[in-house]
């Protein structure tokens, strides 16, 4: 398994390749390295959040100024953001790449309830969702998801699992 720092660099490189230049974040333990790499990258404007739903509004405003935006959070943050995603992104046709750490994924102790509602909630919102489990699929999946987000003018979700984050 690749270490977390290299995995984080792999993910951020994938984001930069599709032109993402504005990322709002709220940490999960498993996302620490990704957030560090984003914060240190001079080509990405990083906005640390107090609550995930703020990121929906912030990314919407930034998108309308021409930025390509992503929102990085845990799946609990997705649940915190449902109204913003609905009445901002879906209502006003705003694309955001949602990068969501999938707590409660297969074999994960302690988050089974959260894990069990994650995909149904995304499905209920009509947000297309891709689960990333293989490191060598990161770049291609991020590229494809961003294309879908831009063309559909809707958020697209990529669920990040431990294996692509290089964490246990």
């Amino acid at each position: 398994m690749m270490d977390a720092k290299k995995a984080a660099e792999n993910i951020v490189e994938g984001l930069k390749q599709v032109g993402i230049d504005f990322v709002a974040t709220l940490p999960d333990l498993k996302l620490v390295e990704v957030i560090k790499v984003i914060d240190e990258d001079p080509d990405i404007k990083h906005v640390p959040l107090c609550r995930e739903e703020e990121g929906v509004g912030i990314c919407a405003g930034a998108y309308l100024t021409g930025k390509k935006t992503a929102l990085l959070m845990q799946n609990a943050g997705l649940l915190n953001s449902c109204n913003g995603l609905t009445t901002t992104c879906l209502q006003f046709q705003i694309p955001i790449l949602l990068l969501i750490y999938y707590a409660g994924d297969l074999g994960d102790r302690g988050f089974a309830t959260l894990g069990s509602v994650t995909e149904p909630v995304l499905d209920g919102l009509g947000i297309r969702t891709y689960i990333l489990r293989k490191m060598d699929e990161v770049a291609e999946t991020l590229r494809g998801a961003q294309i879908l987000a831009e063309d559909s003018r809707r958020p697209v979700a990529v669920l990040l699992t431990k294996s692509v984050l290089g964490v246990k």
Binding site: E54, A60, G61, T69, T88
Partner: protein, 187 residues
């Protein structure tokens, strides 16, 4: 206490090409008082106005962004004060139309109506400048300076309902206006 529409008219007279993000009742009045392609009424979710304004301010640091927030709205997204201060958005003017109620939702008082210090919240969060106005003349005289100095700035406007303006949610939420706003920003 100021009539809200009169308060907004003072801002409209001073406005040049600033982006104005307006929410709920303030938005319903603002689109009549200061029609402009730079009006942003596309926040949707309650409380998110200040967050949208931050995204606009960071995306376009060359333009001044004014948000006409509500007190109930800000309470719903109070952490945004910290996020905005942390982002150091110098071009952001955060006005709170403090009417003490959830006016659009039927006029029920907000918790601790009239006893909460929004300027105190903002200063504690790290806004370098805050102001409070309850008289139109003071607001009128203070505004020129506020529109020039570095922010983020919080302006607490003590207001009550003034004249009635026609509600038009379809206009506030129209994709056409949102697209026109995006295009105006790309000029």
């Amino acid at each position: 206490m100021m009539k809200r529409d009169e308060c907004l008219k003072v801002l409209a007279r001073r406005r040049k090409d600033e982006i104005v993000v307006a929410v709920y009742t303030a938005a319903q009045e603002w689109i009549h008082i200061s029609p402009s392609e730079w009006n942003y009424t596309f926040t949707g979710a309650m409380g998110q106005g200040s967050s949208h304004a931050l995204g606009l301010a960071l995306g376009r640091p060359d333009k001044r962004v004014i948000v006409l927030d509500g007190d109930g709205s800000l309470l719903m997204n109070l952490g945004s004060l910290v996020t905005i201060a942390n982002a150091g958005a110098k071009n952001l003017v955060h006005c709170v139309c403090e009417n003490g109620t959830y006016e659009t939702n039927g006029g029920v008082p907000i918790p601790r109506a009239g006893q909460v210090s929004f300027t105190g919240f903002a200063r504690a969060a790290g806004y370098p400048k805050t102001y409070e106005f309850s008289k139109l003349d003071d607001w009128d005289q203070g505004l020129d300076k506020i529109l020039k100095e570095d922010g983020p700035i919080l302006v607490d406007l003590k207001v009550e309902p003034g004249e009635d303006y026609p509600e038009d949610f379809r206009r506030l939420y129209s994709i056409e206006h949102r697209e026109a706003f995006r295009k105006a920003l790309q000029k």
